[in-house]
């Protein structure tokens, strides 16, 4: 347990000379009102047996409301970047507490570190209370900066968007000056900017175009889709949804004989994107981003795909909304609206931590979605690197925090089979009971997540309490808890709005490829979120019956394999589906392994599940899959 004896926190506020009494009171109030944002997610805290509310901190959903960043376990590199963003968005005074891992490289030193245990958490909270009361204001707090917070600036040719350089210069193809543009993230993103901020730029563009006399008017196309530039239209009444307005500004600068050339390849995403270019835009002072479209197919933003062929502005340059939106992609009801790409990123309340869901939203409906895991494990072992068997088991178990017992069992079985050990029914029974116990705990954790997602506070609390009890319960205690679990299931059946919330959401029929575990079994019923809920509740009951019949659980531990060699394969039904491990053992060292999990297949289903759904329904559908981003093999 490491703590700073001087009781300072790096995320303190600047102390003012005056109002020290107020600052003192405020510090004490802050110390008594700790709210934490748990990274990777509260479900990880529960699976490690940590009860954060009992320790005295309130769990928040967004970094804006949090004063403590609670990091549990090791974080992968991508998660470290996300955590840096989250930390930057927390208002000061803010503190970092790390349980059971090294501080990520992107963050400043942790204010408090401890092991992953409830005792460590309670010590952390005690320390935080004292540190905030004394050190919420400090004389010279450090700035927090991280590379991921800064935009990359790319220089792009206005006419050839594929020409991208890191330094200013001129385009090799046409000789035009390259224009600076911010890029917010390394992943290809597209942007729909419609900010007010473009107002000033519109003028530049017009002049630019006019002088340029370029025949390509793709640049103008995106203007049509920018909201509003009231300065331009003192003579017209527009609200900023009226794109005609821009046409008026258009006509001020051009004569009507203009024929707009446009990209022939309307269907090609790449070309469409070129029209979205923001030539002449100087983003210098703006915190405003325009992302070049990457390989992403953004049919959604086809703002560029404007077909103005033969287009007649008419005598007043008026363009009706029908014409303005002629080639934009339509929603299901035929309207052409602005689509935004919104991340429901790694640390989103209700979704499993580490799952990055990027949804393209048309209003509050999803048009397309993409899910990636930021904490997934890499599959093959490095060439030539052998791992000791015990180390391998520990590593695999700690890499899967939400199902550590299952993966420990998987590794033990695979290694024992590889070294040729015979099955021992006593240990097998004990291990199976432990596996079933984890199944119950895992499903309860999923129920808690469901409660968070649905705003069902009672379910979250009850499921979390039961999960903490059951995690390490003995067989006898588990039998005692049976009525509590049955009461939970009965209560869920009686909850009024739950069925309408879950029925018909996220349907995955039984023919879908790659289904496994409760999702697959529920697919035989109705395949929707409601069926999955009941399937998991039934599995809890079945597991309890098994435990009652079998005996006491025992955590899987590797039996003596000596210096065995061979190849072995094992399959375990984890709470989320089937996991298969095949490995090669040489003199007691694991030479190579191959892991296949259910979640790796399920994550591919997310894109089809969310398409065309309302946002809330889409998120519930993803949640009902019970994805564990750790089990997604990269």
């Amino acid at each position: 347990m490491i703590s700073d004896p001087t009781m300072t926190i790096t995320g303190a506020r600047q102390r003012q000379g005056r109002f020290t009494v107020l600052q003192k009171w405020v510090s004490r109030a802050l110390a008594g009102n700790l709210s934490c944002l748990i990274v990777p997610g509260p479900e990880v805290a529960l699976s490690h047996g940590l009860d954060v509310t009992a320790a005295g901190m309130r769990i928040t959903a967004t970094p804006r409301d949090a004063s403590v960043l609670l990091i549990i376990g090791e974080l992968s590199e991508k998660m470290s970047e996300a955590v840096a963003v989250l930390y930057a968005q927390m208002p000061r005074p803010r503190a970092i507490v790390i349980l059971g891992g090294q501080p990520p490289s992107t963050l400043p030193d942790a204010d408090f570190s401890a092991g992953v245990s409830q005792a460590g958490l309670i010590d952390a909270v005690d320390w935080l209370k004292r540190a905030l009361a004394k050190g919420a204001f400090s004389d010279s707090p450090e700035d927090f900066d991280a590379a991921v917070l800064h935009a990359r600036i790319d220089y792009v040719c206005p006419m050839h968007p594929e020409v991208v350089q890191n330094e200013p210069g001129s385009c090799p193809k046409c000789g035009m000056d390259l224009v600076a543009r911010e890029a917010g993230e390394s992943a290809p993103e597209h942007d729909h900017d419609h900010g007010h901020d473009h107002c000033e730029h519109r003028h530049h563009e017009h002049e630019h175009q006019h002088h340029d006399h370029a025949q390509q008017h793709e640049h103008h196309e995106h203007e049509h889709h920018h909201g509003h530039c009231h300065e331009h239209h003192d003579s017209h009444e527009h609200d900023h949804e009226q794109h005609e307005g821009h046409q008026h500004s258009h006509e001020n600068h051009h004569d009507h004989g203009h024929k707009h050339q446009h990209d022939e390849s309307d269907g090609d995403a790449e070309e469409k994107d070129s029209g979205h270019d923001h030539s002449g835009h100087h983003h210098g002072g703006h915190g405003h981003d325009s992302h070049e479209h990457g390989g992403h197919d953004h049919v959604g933003h086809g703002h560029s795909g404007h077909d103005h062929g033969g287009h007649d502005h008419g005598s007043s340059g008026f363009m009706s909304m029908v014409e303005v939106t002629k080639d934009l992609p339509r929603s299901a009801d035929g309207l052409a609206m602005d689509w935004m790409e919104v991340p429901f990123g790694p640390v989103f309340p209700g979704l499993p931590g580490g799952l990055k869901l990027t949804l393209t939203l048309d209003g509050d409906g999803v048009t397309e979605g993409q899910a990636t895991s930021l904490v997934g494990m890499i599959n093959e072992s490095e060439e030539g690197k052998e791992i000791d068997a015990e180390t391998f088991i520990e590593r695999l178990a700690s890499a899967m925090p939400l199902a550590s017992v299952s993966y420990r069992l998987l590794a033990c079985l695979a290694i024992e089979r590889a070294s040729g050990l015979e099955n021992d029914s006593a240990t097998d029974h004990a291990r199976d009971v432990a596996l079933e116990r984890e199944r119950i705990a895992s499903h309860l954790g999923w129920l808690a997540q469901l409660g968070r997602q649905l705003g069902f506070a009672w379910l979250t609390d009850r499921a979390a309490t039961l999960q903490l009890e059951i995690r390490r319960a003995s067989g006898k205690r588990l039998v005692e808890l049976t009525p509590a679990l049955q009461a939970l299931a009965a209560r869920l059946g009686r909850t009024p709005l739950l069925k309408s919330r879950l029925k018909g959401i996220g349907i995955l029929p039984s023919g879908t490829a790659g289904l496994s575990g409760p999702v697959a079994r529920a697919a035989d019923d109705a395949g929707d979120a409601w069926a999955r809920l009941w399937r998991r509740l039934d599995e809890m009951t079945t597991s309890l019956d098994f435990i009652k019949a079998t005996g006491e659980p025992e955590l899987p531990a590797l039996r003596n394999i000596g210096r065995g060699s061979g190849t072995g394969e094992a399959t375990v039904e984890t709470p989320r589906g089937e996991a298969r491990l095949s490995l090669e053992l040489e003199h007691g060292q694991v030479k190579s392994y191959r892991l296949d999990t259910a979640c790796s297949h399920h994550i591919g289903l997310v894109a089809t599940l969310v398409e065309g759904r309302e946002l809330g329904d889409a998120l519930v559908a993803v949640g009902s899959l019970d994805l564990s981003p750790w089990e997604v093999i990269a």
């Binding site: 405020v26 209700g350 506070a457 709005l497 809330g616």
Partner: protein
């Protein structure tokens, strides 16, 4: 003098409601919790998002607070304990509460963030669902009282509370009041599980404190409106009238709180469909039934 008493009483009820809310969440009853929580918010930084619509961003929390207090200003604690006993009291409440929508749309549009924006527009959909279910039951209540003055409305219930006289109206009004206060299960604009905080998401520090205070006061206002319109206001044996008003208001507010705790969030499509296909015909039926009753019963 009355003014100060009533204002104090409403603030006190908001305080008590905050304490009770804290009790349901943490399990501990701390009477100083709201003060400490307010101080803590004051002490945190108040961050303004980049490129916001500054006017909207700043106005939204203040407007929400003003709306909630204005609504409470026409609701009586006792026959003479009311801030402003307007001749059009019941109508005024509706007018004031309409600005809740304005405040939330501002809070959604202002910060220029995706979650807030979706939350704001969702609330507009919610308003379209609940607005009629607030207004129609109030009309039925006014029919019985032959007046829009809130004290007269309470006075008309001295023989029989409206909850017995017009139970359908009560149910509809209660549900619509929860939707207006955007409390769970109708907390679509601020859903933590779907929108990461929604309209609340970008407010920090003192602005968040004002927003939270405004939400609490809004619940109190609506609970008090339910009491005035349906639960007989200050009528009751033994205790002084103002005590009964406050007790009933707090009871309704706690009921709203509990409903939120024990029910999952409703889907927006379902909310709108049920309000319009089921709610409005029922509200119209309520008006007709009350119309007949008013003529028949002396």
């Amino acid at each position: 003098m009355n003014f100060a008493i009533v204002l104090f009483a409403w603030l006190g009820s908001a305080w008590l409601l905050a304490v009770i809310e804290g009790w349901t969440i943490t399990g501990r009853l701390r009477l100083t919790a709201p003060l400490l929580s307010g101080l803590a918010h004051l002490g945190r930084e108040s961050i303004v998002p980049r490129t916001p619509d500054r006017v909207f961003f700043e106005t939204a929390p203040v407007l929400l607070l003003i709306v909630a207090v204005l609504g409470a200003a026409v609701l009586p604690l006792a026959p003479t304990l009311v801030i402003a006993d307007l001749a059009t009291g019941a109508l005024f409440i509706n007018a004031a509460l309409a600005y809740v929508l304005v405040a939330l749309i501002m809070a959604g549009w202002g910060p220029n963030g995706a979650y807030a924006m979706i939350g704001g527009w969702r609330f507009l959909g919610q308003l379209i669902a609940y607005a009629m279910l607030i207004v129609m039951p109030i009309t039925a209540v006014a029919m019985r009282a032959e007046s829009l003055v809130t004290t007269v409305i309470v006075g008309s219930q001295d023989s029989l509370w409206n909850i017995v006289y017009q139970p359908l109206g009560f149910v509809l009004f209660f549900i619509a009041a929860m939707a207006l206060a955007f409390r769970a299960p109708f907390d679509l604009p601020t859903a933590p599980g779907e929108l990461g905080g929604g309209v609340d998401a970008e407010y920090t520090g003192v602005r968040l404190a004002v927003l939270r205070l405004a939400r609490l006061t809004l619940v109190i206002t609506l609970a008090s409106a339910t009491t005035v319109f349906y639960l007989g206001g200050w009528h009751g044996p033994l205790l002084p009238p103002w005590a009964w008003s406050l007790i009933k208001t707090l009871a309704v507010a706690v009921l709203m709180l509990l409903a939120g705790r024990y029910l999952p969030r409703i889907r927006e499509a379902d909310l709108m469909r049920w309000c319009w296909t089921l709610g409005i015909p029922l509200a119209l039926l309520n008006i007709i039934v009350v119309g007949l009753l008013v003529l028949v019963v002396p």
